[in-house]
Amino acid sequence: MKPARPAPPFSVVGGFLGAGKTTLLNRLLADPQAPRCAVLVNDFGDIAVDQALIQSHGGETIAMQNGCICCTIGDDLARGIATVLDLAARPEHIVVEASGVAHPGRVAEVARISPELAPGGVFVLADAGAIGEQLQDQWIADTVDRQLQSAGHILVSKLEPLPPHHQAGVIDLLSRRYPSASLSTTAEVQWAHLLEQARDRRRGAPPAAAHARFVARTLRSTAPVDVRKLAHWLEHSRDVYRMKGWAVDRADGRVKLIQAVGRRLNIAPCEADIEGLVAIVIGNPRLPAAADIVRVIGARESAD
């Protein structure tokens, strides 16, 4: 028998073709803060990291200067996972890129069984500009829906280029259809987020456990909001990293786009077809539950 070695958390990054999986993984692979991780990708052809960051390139494996390795899955995920588990220096975290048509939740389940793997997170990307049509498409609607249903965490990509009212619609759609997944944008994802999710899952603690550094909340309300109260809360909270939302302002009945990065706050009128409030908030674990935030800012109904 092999000596017992620590089981690395096993996370899956999924999402339909074009959702931005490779862009995200490229960024994570190039991150100097990366843990010693193994990233299993479908195709090296798409991996475009700075040559200066690559330590060595052999057949099916690229070793990065930051300690990460990147392997191709080829046509056999089992072989890819076996290869990284057999490395002399077993990685601290394994991240698998699920193919564009795979069911990432099903792939992730291997870690619930295998004694050599610990459960990590299931991250499913959604292309903000395409997801609405994809969920109606005659060929792929059910595939895309299945992927998002299995997500622990939905990452919205390519949100910023869209007009604000369209952005609100995407966040509204996803938060309504997949209420059990947390929601944020790919721009916000760092290694810390992947690792926190993994650690939480392993300990069976909710994502808001005290040790976590990152939580995401989705705020929803069908009633108008007091935008002044919302601004006040954002300016005084020490727990919000970023926030983006659309609200019908109770003061004038108009829709406002509210964006916060740290303490920097920007509120502007905009066109968006919403009833009350739709927002995503990224913050530290002391961030109150979504329902409590909604109550503080004066909206009546909420869903997390």
Binding site: F16, L17, N42, D43, G45, I73, G74, D75, L77, A78, R79, I81, A82, L85, S99, G100, V101, H103, R106, V107, A108, E109, V110, R112, I113, S114, P115, E116, W139, I140, D142, T143, R146
Partner: protein
């Protein structure tokens, strides 16, 4: 170089050549047919060799869709429900009850040499059992070593307690692919990657490197010979360098008894990469090896509920899986059509065939007609789709699953309305399509005569009639295992019929498939084959 000419005389030669449908004599020189006719040929070529005097000769059977895995998998002992012939020719009796299966496995277990060696076997199909064998039955085989059965589809396994324990599977961590008994305990049956991986990781995967095993390919050749096949497709192959080298060497062996047509899998390749591979592979071709075609898989299987269907499965199972994003599948088809590459497209469900027809309609509009591509399996195509395929000049291959899964399709998958319409060979012929029929070995055993019997009689394994309106005639069925698949493989210039100039590939039968009662076609014996004029012997 001049060759001496040999004249063979047979009880009858069914030629599949419209110019001379039936003959008794065929003259062969240099591996090719030089003349076909009657006794008058003896005046030109001298007295005939009587080797086939009692036999009926047909064009060498062409298997349009099989996998070399058929040879590789016999590395493991077979324990399936139906009797099956080992490539070496001996009969392996089916295990038709749980008791029989356990008895067979116990015997195999006693033969293992290493104390801790895992007992593997293959071919088991739970669909045929009322009380299917479970973990506990396999525990009766061994409580000290792992026992793992690969199901006939090779995607599922059933494992004993030792194997489950080593993999870390227990009632506390049951996931989707781990099936449980009434008490919530894993029953030993495991499906899909997440459940199967931990087991094979713990006990070793015996078919991991099967693709480059030369013994496996030799067994595949023997399976062909036994079934009367002189040319077979190998319709899904990574064709990595070691596999190409092995195929090139083994098929060139003098006694290798079949021509092989491997198709490159497009999995994980871009259209540009596929073009580059296809450009270099034919350099390895010789008279028994034909690289150059490509296989694209769009969906899964109907019996596995992984085929993409337009109407839901009757028992509420969700729709199947695409093997790649539909837009990418269509882009691949269009790009490779434009590059004049021959395509074999796996389409089982009718949504997958619809996607493919749409892609080819666009491809032909863009680039004009080029190769005649092949829709493989095409099991659920309806009259409208078949008409469309005919207009596009496509070729259809149908499965013999009317027999093997007809009952299940009626009762459990697509239901009583659609099931009898599946594998619509009659409708396809009436639409003007070129067709062939296939076995998909190792999914079902190699056996063109049995496949032909299925298409002619359309009976299920339980004996039920299954959509008799789709029956084809014995002549049409024989064409669909000879000239039809030769056309589907783009080799009808040299094989598929007994005609002057073609390769001298024949199958020798002990009776006449066009004269026996249609219900008896499957009982005709294969005496052996002639490949390029050389008698390969039989069983």
């Amino acid at each position: 170089m001049s060759h001496s000419t040999t004249l063979y005389r047979a009880r009858r030669i069914i030629t599949m050549d419209a110019a001379q449908p039936s003959a008794t004599h065929v003259a062969v020189a240099g591996g090719r047919i030089v003349a076909v006719g009657g006794a008058e040929l003896e005046r030109e070529y001298g007295s005939a060799d009587p080797l086939f005097a009692e036999a009926v000769l047909t064009p060498g059977f062409v298997e349009g869709h099989a996998h070399s895995m058929e040879g590789m998998i016999w590395k493991l002992p077979y324990v399936g429900f139906h009797d099956r012939i080992h490539p070496d020719g001996h009969l392996v009796e089916g295990c038709a009850s749980v008791d029989a299966l356990v008895r067979r496995l116990r015997r195999l277990e006693r033969d293992l040499e290493q104390r801790d060696e895992t007992l593997f076997a293959w071919g088991y199909d739970p669909i045929y059992f009322q009380d299917k064998p479970m973990r506990r039955d396999l525990d009766a085989v061994s409580e000290s070593r792992p026992v793992v059965l690969f199901h006939s589809n090779l995607h599922l396994i059933t494992a004993n307690s030792v194997a489950l324990q080593r993999a870390g599977i227990h009632r506390g961590n049951v996931i989707d692919g781990v099936y449980v008994d009434q008490d919530g305990e894993p029953n030993g049956e495991l499906a899909e990657f997440a459940a199967v991986f931990p087991v094979l990781r713990a006990v070793g995967d015996p078919i991991f490197h099967a693709q480059d095993d030369p013994e496996g390919l030799r067994r595949f050749g023997k399976s062909c010979l036994r079934a009367g096949i002189t040319t077979t497709a190998d319709l899904y192959n990574s064709l990595d360098a070691p596999v190409v080298d092995m195929f090139t060497a083994v098929t060139a062996e003098e006694d290798f008894p079949a021509r092989i047509v491997p198709a490159l899998s497009t999995l994980n390749l871009s259209a540009e990469q596929v073009r580059a591979r296809v450009a270099e592979l034919p350099d390895y071709n010789h008279e028994k090896l034909y690289f150059g075609a490509v296989k694209i898989i769009t969906d899964g299987s109907i019996q596995g509920y992984s085929a993409r269907v337009r109407r839901p499965y009757i028992n509420g199972v969700e729709n199947g899986v695409w093997c790649d994003a539909p837009s990418r599948l269509q882009d691949m088809m269009r790009a490779l059509h434009a590059a004049d590459i021959k395509l074999h497209i796996h389409v089982n469900g009718d949504q997958a065939s619809e996607l493919t027809l749409q892609a080819f309609a666009e491809a032909i509009a863009e680039s004009g007609p080029r190769r005649r591509h092949v829709l493989q399996h095409a099991q659920m195509m309806d009259a409208r789709q078949l008409q469309h395929a005919a207009e596009l000049g496509l070729i259809n291959l149908f499965a013999n699953h009317t027999y093997y899964w007809g009952d299940q399709h009626r009762d459990a998958t697509v239901g009583p309305h659609l099931a009898p319409r599946m594998n619509a060979a009659r409708t396809a012929l009436d639409a003007g399509l070129e067709i062939a029929i296939h076995c998909d070995a190792p999914v079902t055993p190699m056996g063109p005569l049995f496949t032909a019997w299925c298409a002619v009689n359309r009976r299920t394994a339980s004996g039920r009639e299954h959509g008799l309106q789709e029956c084809i005639t014995p002549f049409e069925a024989l064409r669909a295992v000879t000239l039809g698949p030769a056309i589907s493989l783009d080799l009808d210039d040299c094989i598929g019929s007994v005609a002057p100039g073609k390769l001298a590939d024949f199958t020798a039968l002990d009776d006449d498939p066009l004269r026996v009662a249609p219900a008896d076609i499957r009982d005709i014996g294969v005496l052996g084959t002639v490949l390029g004029g050389r008698w390969q012997g039989g069983q």
